[in-house]
């Protein structure tokens, strides 16, 4: 095993230990309070409105290829979709989702079908669509969805590039504010400039914990935070050692 593999395995093992440790600790103590993130507060308001005012929520899952690292943010989007579908189950208008990757659209259908089945509702396959397979065809298809249905808010969680601006602009015209984050750097910059409430970097993966998906989501957020601090300290230590001439 080379050093790279060893470090990767150590990172995964550390994350697992932190998650399990947090779950065990929460049995004895109260879970830690989460810092306020404006985007999730807005999302909770949008979910409330979807239930009370009959507005539909749209979730854009992006174009993350399942055979690459983009799958991670795609799964985070699917997890958010599941939570939203369950939270708005009593609404007249269940959420709709759009994807630019076929496997993602099939999993989105399965997620929404599962939520509808568990809660005794009916599922319509048109609620989870593959809107296009190239960046711009996907964005154009998703933008058209926003104009057709009474969408109250649009959540964008997935691998989205700069084409996301077209979806957000269509949402603005339809009166549906956009919230969300992506793993793509150019998409991140565009979201920062155009979305009502952008999520930055790892915040994109925190939706489960903020939407009350349970203690394992809290635990994974805790692991994420601890590991982030560990990486920051490692970078600082490296910089100091470099300046001191040790490295």
């Amino acid at each position: 095993m080379n050093l790279e593999s060893l470090l990767g395995l150590a990172l995964v093992a550390a994350a697992m230990v932190l998650i399990l440790g947090y779950v065990a600790a929460v049995r004895k103590w109260e879970p830690r309070a989460l810092r306020a993130i404006q985007t999730f507060q807005s999302l909770q308001r949008a979910i409330g409105l979807a239930v009370e005012a009959g507005n539909r929520l749209h979730l854009s899952l992006g174009r993350g290829n399942f055979l690459s690292s983009q799958a991670g943010v795609g799964f985070a989007g699917l997890s958010t979709l599941d939570l939203i579908a369950r939270s708005t189950s009593i609404s007249d208008k269940p959420p709709i989702s759009s994807a630019g990757e076929a496997a993602l659209s099939i999993l989105a259908q399965d997620t929404q079908r599962g939520a509808a089945h568990d809660l005794g509702g009916e599922f319509d396959p048109a609620r989870a669509q593959l809107t296009g397979v190239t960046p711009f065809s996907y964005a154009a298809g998703a933008a058209a969805l926003l104009g057709e249905d009474e969408v109250g808010a649009s959540l964008l969680v997935g691998s989205l590039g700069s084409e996301v601006a077209l979806i957000i602009e269509a949402g603005e015209r339809a009166g549906s504010p956009a919230l969300g984050g992506t793993d793509n750097l150019s998409g991140q910059a565009v979201l920062y400039a155009s979305a009502h409430n952008p999520l930055i970097g790892e915040e994109t993966f925190a939706s489960g914990a903020y939407l009350g998906a349970g203690r394992l989501h809290h635990a994974s957020l805790f692991a994420q935070d601890v590991l982030r601090w560990a990486v920051i300290l490692a970078i600082l230590a490296g910089a100091i050692l470099k300046v001191a001439g040790v490295l």
């Binding site: 593999s5 060893l6 990767g8 395995l9 990172l11 995964v12 994350a15 399942f66 055979l67 991670g72 943010v73 799964f75 985070a76 699917l78 599941d82 076929a102 496997a103 099939i106 999993l107 399965d110 997620t111 079908r113 599962g114 089945h117 568990d118 396959p125 048109a126 669509q129 809107t131 397979v133 065809s137 964005a139 058209a144 057709e148 700069s162 084409e163 601006a165 077209l166 602009e169 793993d183 750097l185 991140q188 565009v190 920062y192 400039a193 155009s194 930055i200 970097g201 790892e202 994109t204 993966f205 489960g208 349970g214 394992l216 989501h217 994974s220 692991a223 994420q224 590991l227 990486v231």
Partner: protein
């Protein structure tokens, strides 16, 4: 109710593929290669299913019209999509994707449409920048917009004027703050992917019906 058998299969496959990345055991490597090959085939099959779903959704809009919840313009867009998809499938499937007719469709329809959308994107981004000042005027917004202006001025000098020091400033922005910020975002995303992956392996998140 999730199916425990499907969950167990998904978890086992995930663990084998993950272990195959870190441990150089022949059996694990072979198994990982086979599973990834299957996944590649399934992704290709998923594309066919996705396109059928896309066709079905728009066919329903065309045939049911307002009864299916589609407005007049939506019906026309859906008709264009259904016709375009059918024509491309027939031409590409019958004559092959490299036939001049198939290439004509790509070069004269798809390419111009996507290029037009890219041009619209440029306008939308300028508009988004202006709206950002209105919506969230703070120090970060000012820094963000000033950086965008500097990069734009260096990338495409206005009327051919090249302001002294601007190219150096743009190079420094790319080398120091932009690289540092990008690495920070990438590290955060990587950690998010690790914890999301672990939740999937533990069967906490199950984006399959089961």
């Amino acid at each position: 109710m999730k199916n425990p058998l499907l969950t167990a299969i998904a978890m086992a496959v995930g663990i084998v593929v993950l272990a195959g990345y870190f441990l150089a055991v022949d059996m694990l490597l072979t198994l990982r290669a086979i599973l990834i090959e299957w996944a590649t085939i399934l992704v290709a099959v998923a594309l066919i299913a996705g396109v059928i779903n896309l066709f079905a959704v728009h066919w329903r809009k065309v045939t049911r019209g307002s009864a299916g919840g589609a407005s007049g313009s939506t019906q026309i867009y859906s008709l264009v999509l259904v016709t375009g998809l059918s024509a491309t499938l027939i031409v590409g499937g019958w004559l092959g994707p490299t036939h001049p007719y198939a290439l004509w469709i790509f070069n004269n329809i798809q390419l111009p449409v996507e290029t037009s959308l890219m041009a619209i994107l440029a306008v939308v981004l300028v508009y988004a920048g202006a709206r950002l000042i209105q919506r969230r005027l703070n120090l970060l917004t000012v820094v963000f917009l000033l950086t965008a202006v500097v990069v734009l001025l260096v990338s495409g000098p206005l009327f051919g004027f090249d302001l002294p020091g601007l190219a150096e400033l743009r190079a420094w922005i790319g080398r120091v703050p932009a690289a540092a910020g990008a690495r920070g975002v990438i590290l955060g995303v990587a950690l998010g992917i690790v914890t999301t992956g672990l939740r999937l392996l533990a069967g906490v998140d199950r984006p399959y019906e089961g």
